[in-house]
């Protein structure tokens, strides 16, 4: 493993200052499940890490019916996965959390780390995008809130400027009319990176779909929405033929690449299959 220097930040301000002062090749160290692996595999050049795990106030989880679910940057995937509220109201997030790595990894990895790494195949991103989550960002001059769909600018890239730190994520409340699903597709049942991931969040009123968001993972430079497919479904009863044509549309809307994990064609096919299955699964909430 390449050598690096370790710094422990006491406050957000301290962390932000360290990021600015220590220069390039300085990174925040959260759970470290991405960062340390990247250092070890020599995928990232790192001179300094700034550990944020001792910063107070970043470990809270709150829920209220108007704001929704908010959790801090240090909250682990495992903690959220086991939360009854998540199991009951956010089956999509729960599916993403439960599918990430292994129990050991989940007890270390954070959701905020997962989104900041900005991998197109990250499992927590599609359901957060489909749910319209918000990202809270600290800098020494101001705080800002960014809709998660606007947070990513490319593979491994985000809107975060130098010295900015994500403090938490808010997921809008899950109403009684909401149906949610996330389906991860890979070759293994655990310890697997997504070949394709599809999240669907929808709401139904009197049998009619009044809103639907489809988010596609691992089939583009960032997690993608499928706006045309969504438009085709809004106002319908989500019957089989409407779902079929929307799934076909989603296949057109994604931009997968071929690599050793799968070919672009296969990924596209899976977008079609999984979009259909995810909608069906989301509707089962009402069954």
């Amino acid at each position: 493993m390449r050598r690096f220097d370790y710094h422990r930040a006491e406050t957000l301000e301290h962390a932000s200052r360290l990021l600015a002062e220590l220069g390039d090749d300085t990174f925040l160290f959260n759970g470290g499940t991405d960062l340390l692996v990247e250092i070890r595999e020599r995928l990232r050049r790192v001179r300094n890490v700034v550990d944020i795990k001792q910063i107070p106030g970043l470990s809270d989880i709150t829920y209220d019916e108007t704001r929704g679910l908010t959790f801090g940057a240090l909250v682990t995937v495992g903690r959220l996965e086991r939360l009854p509220l998540v199991c009951q109201r956010y089956p999509n997030l729960r599916a993403a959390f439960a599918s990430l790595g292994s129990i050991q990894v989940r007890n270390r990895a954070t959701v905020v780390g997962n989104i900041c790494r900005a991998s197109p195949s990250a499992d927590t991103i599609p359901p957060l995008v489909a749910d319209g989550a918000f990202v809270h960002i600290y800098s020494r001059t101001n705080m800002r809130v960014v809709p998660i769909a606007e947070f990513f600018t490319g593979p491994g890239r985000t809107v975060l400027a130098k010295g900015e730190i994500v403090t938490g994520i808010t997921v809008p409340p899950a109403g009684d009319t909401a149906g949610k699903a996330y389906i991860k597709h890979g070759r293994r049942k655990a310890m697997e990176l997504s070949t394709v991931g599809v999240a669907v969040s929808l709401s139904m009123e009197e049998g009619v779909c009044c809103d639907i968001r489809i988010a596609l993972g691992a089939v583009g430079a960032t997690v993608l929405r499928a706006p045309q497919a969504e438009a085709m479904l809004r106002g319908t009863r989500l019957d089989a033929s409407a779902v079929r044509s929307a799934a076909d549309k989603a296949m057109e809307e994604c931009t997968p690449i071929s690599n050793v994990r799968a070919s672009a064609d296969y990924r596209r096919d899976m977008v079609g299959v999984l979009t259909g299955r995810a909608i069906k699964q989301a509707l089962e909430t009402f069954a």
Partner: protein, 768 residues
Amino acid sequence: MNMTTPIEPREFKIVGKSVKRDDVLEKVTGEAQYTGDIKLPGMLHGKIKRAAIAHARIKSIDVSKALAYPGVKAVLTHETVPRVLHYGSPHPRSASCTKDQYILDDKVRFWGEGVAAVAAISEEIADEALDLIEVEYEALPAVFEPEDAAQPGAPLIHDVGPGGNLVLDPVRVNRGDVDKGFAEADFVLEGTFAGGRPHPAYMEPNVCVADWDGSNKLTFWTSTQTSFMVRGILAEVLGLPLTKVRVLVDHMGGGFGAKQDLFQHEFLCALLAKETRRPVKMEFTRHETFVAGRSRHPCKIWLKQGFKNDGTLVARDMKLVYDSGAYGSHGPGVTIVGTTAATSLYRCENVRLEGRCVYTNTPINGAFRGYGVVQSYYALDIQMDEAAERLGMDPAELKLKNVVRAGDIAPSGHPIIGHGLEICLQHGIDVLDWKALWNRDRTPDPKRPHIRTGWGIGCEMHGSSAYPGIKEQGNATVKVNEDGTVTLLTGAAGLGTGAHTALAQIVAEELGVRFEDVGVIHGDTDVVPWDIGAFASHTTYLVGTAAKMAAGKVRAAVLARAAMKLQVAPEEIDLSEGKVFLIAEPDRCMTVSEAMGPSRGIPAANIVANGTYEPTKSYSFAAHFTEVDVDTETGLVEVKRVVPVHDVGRVIHPIAAQGQIEGGIQQGIGHTLTEDYVIDKKTGRSLNAGLVDYKMPLSMDMPDIETIILEAAPDPGGPWGAKGVGEDPIIAIGPSIANAIHDAIGVRFHHYPITPEDILKALREKGA
């Protein structure tokens, strides 16, 4: 010596029981010392600079910056290491290996080959120094497929060998009259088959530590299956007598065959230690275990067989081409074993086989569980299913009709004593009620209309010992201590299979002492008797018999001593559970300790005996019955249930045997469905040299496995009829899965791994 004495009926006290393994506590508490745990005072860390080009001449190497880097103690290149042409797989007494390697050469033959080595005060510094070594290459045209490498005019990878990029002359086997057989056939099946490049991915990456003492003696710890071969070839290449090389191996995290080569890093580690006069450790990264380790030979097979309408097989014509990668390693052995294996499994009098092994500019393929047979039996077993389909027959019935049986001669050319395949197949058919299963209603479940279920059967047989390719020898030394405990000295490596436990059981059983009273000393070439290495499913069979022989001698000596002390004739007494007693009067007894110990002016006894066993070979057999679910929309195949029925002769340790079977099935599911080490066919670069994208099935992916072990066909050459179990289970699972997929979706696959994309593509073609 071939033991042809019949198997004695007997009541066992220790053999056949799943005694607690001797290494359990150490392993679960983390106390077990692996080579990677070794830390010596002043120890340096070595790292290898690897080429990022597949075929090239080295024009120049500049190591000056690396040498000047603070903390670096030595750098070696082809200009500074001895230039000795050596074997990669130095099997002693074997015809089947190739002398085609240098420690470092001025030529690069695959992407990832080592071109220089650094020793530094830390692993990090050594690693950083690698970037400072400047290598100038003259690129040579490279070949990545055996077809291309075998073309006339293809760039030659080696100057040695038969030429034409062949690793050895083609292996040819002819029996009967194949043309006549085809002429008499009612129908002929012909097909091509292809096997991928699975990698054993043992848990413990290759690692070694070298230390020279003041008398110029090398002590060498290394994770190897073949410590005496490492000693022999290190001594040869370094120009040392065997007394000056001591090889040590304690616990190992697996090997699966791949750790029986001599690796570049092993020489370099010894030379760096010599150069710096300090101990040096070298440990592979996971990436290096792929690029610089050994994988299974990819293989292309053409198979044509003639059948009668009653299912009789009348002709078999088969050509196999194994891809050796850039060096010979086990290519010759694999080609010979894999090709000759096709004389058997399903009986056929007229056989014509041709096996080739070809160099390519890809990472080295070597020994891996199943040794060439995984590939050839995949083809034989799938084509047998196709014949059944053509005949409108239940495949179980056709296989049962054709499997080898008593009187048939083995691939090795010698008669098999215990034939178990027919029994395994019949047993599985009976316990599963296969007929009903095969004739079941195949309509999909309306709740899961996209899922299709299928069942398939795969058969296999595999030899214990590498005879006749290698004339093997097993050795053991057994000593009885004056307190009645017993020490077994063995050179057999403990890969993690529990072999030492099985050997201790055998000694305890034969000698008549408690299992707990037998200690095993292993893994020190200066101490233990010579050993050929742990491979070819032979440790229990070969070393087990040697241990039994040594224990038998010791037992006789203990009885003689006790008889003297009891003042009776040795025939009048017996020894069991650590007690010597009069057969006629069991209350008159003494412990082994009392027999051994000093008394009335007699010093304690020194009882030591050696056992040496030179076997031919036994064969183990299995039939695997496998159920799969195929998702026709995603192409995912899930193995739901496997019923493996094995005949391994006498079972020494049931749980260990079952563990071998389950582990083999897991690895076999891997290479059949998900595991393939992919080399870019344009550059020769590895595309998935790591565990993120090299997909082994994990515990969550494992099906229900209902292992059945029969003891129906023991071989008298093994201890109480025991045969091997190491390699067998990885062979039959593959074709059983491929056949089950066909049963599920009506599509035949002739290759592995069978990927979801392959399934979808085939379903589309079938639908169109």
